[in-house]
Symmetry: D2
Subunit: 133 residues, 4 copies
Amino acid sequence: MAAREIIKTHPHPISVDRETLLRCIDDCFDCAVTCTGCADACLAEDDVRDLVRCIRLCLDCADACTATGRIVTRQTEPDLGVIAATLEACALACRASGDECERHAHHHEHCNICAATCRRCEQSCNDLLAAIG
Amino acid sequence: MAAREIIKTHPHPISVDRETLLRCIDDCFDCAVTCTGCADACLAEDDVRDLVRCIRLCLDCADACTATGRIVTRQTEPDLGVIAATLEACALACRASGDECERHAHHHEHCNICAATCRRCEQSCNDLLAAIG
Amino acid sequence: MAAREIIKTHPHPISVDRETLLRCIDDCFDCAVTCTGCADACLAEDDVRDLVRCIRLCLDCADACTATGRIVTRQTEPDLGVIAATLEACALACRASGDECERHAHHHEHCNICAATCRRCEQSCNDLLAAIG
Amino acid sequence: MAAREIIKTHPHPISVDRETLLRCIDDCFDCAVTCTGCADACLAEDDVRDLVRCIRLCLDCADACTATGRIVTRQTEPDLGVIAATLEACALACRASGDECERHAHHHEHCNICAATCRRCEQSCNDLLAAIG
């Protein structure tokens, strides 16, 4: 992703481990699009009534990941308290969405993929949270 | 706002005090647009170099308020843990942005207005957080 | 909305009729939250399978209105070609969502409200488009 | 990206060339994060006053790409008129942002990278536009 290159060329040095930051940025945007796609695929399934909670939590997770991805991408004059709370909320949104997707993973392959993506993003948010300490 | 009417017509009863919820929804969207406008107005000021932190925190706050406004608008199958963490992160983003805007409020009327809007949204997020327990 | 005040305090004079601009900003954000709420209310209805197209178009409209509301709020160094194309796309998204909501307006009051909100936003986008020439 | 897998598992067959669609989805999200990062890096530069137009157009482009990426990801009950207009507006936002970044590409490596990313996304939007005919 070009985003990786952008971070390297920022005029200020970043204050956290670069690889941990880049993984979190990547995973937030990947999870945002995956949850958008999973909510949309669920909507097209015959058993959509059983997937209502899954759709809702995927929509929340997509919104949380979009905002978090933007906020952690910014390196200028960060407020670490805001970033930490944002990462915590995002990790929780990923966990809720991942747990619910997992319940449907054996029926629907998109839920299986989405569950794994949510787990990865939850982990990346928690790793960045630990790194900013 | 039409959004107020939508919440009243949801097929499921909402689980929190309706007025507290509606105020939070209104204030999140109002704060999102106000922070977008304040960041933009700061960018056009001659002393933009003194407003870099203000711009950055307003951009963060606009993103946090947009995501939070969407997440708290949804009444179907909510995950209260996700909502609580989202409200906490949004209240912190509003506080950071409001504090920084306040430092420029005597120079720039848009920062004065934005500081007040951020305070109001911070309060509404904290009120809804208290209401969902 | 505080957003109205922010536009008035921008350091540069705005280049279009202020009332037309402010109405478009208001209506984009109102339509974004209304469509988010209508998609969510549809998802909770017993006849969700008949509302799949309505949900999808409301989600699209919420995304279009969020982006358009942010873009037209910015007054610094605008690119009028980008703004015009954005308003055209948003007006179309509002029309598609409004048409589909109207089909369900007699069954579901949230669709009735959402249809009217989409119509209003479509009109405001087209009015601003006419004003920027 | 997991998003690629999600599209393949959608219950309905997609109506356009899959590779063209996937490239557009990837490029919209990559451009959204790159423009967010470039606007932020510009904000931290000593010559920020010369980069005001660049920042503004990158913020617009990030918003356009985020909305477009979400809209084209959805495969359920699409409205092709909405999708076409959205892609046109996004291609224009990418062009405006790419043109302005290019003017600063020799001074700032982040603008150089961002210009190339915007060009690629403009092309992918136009390719998908041609594919949906």
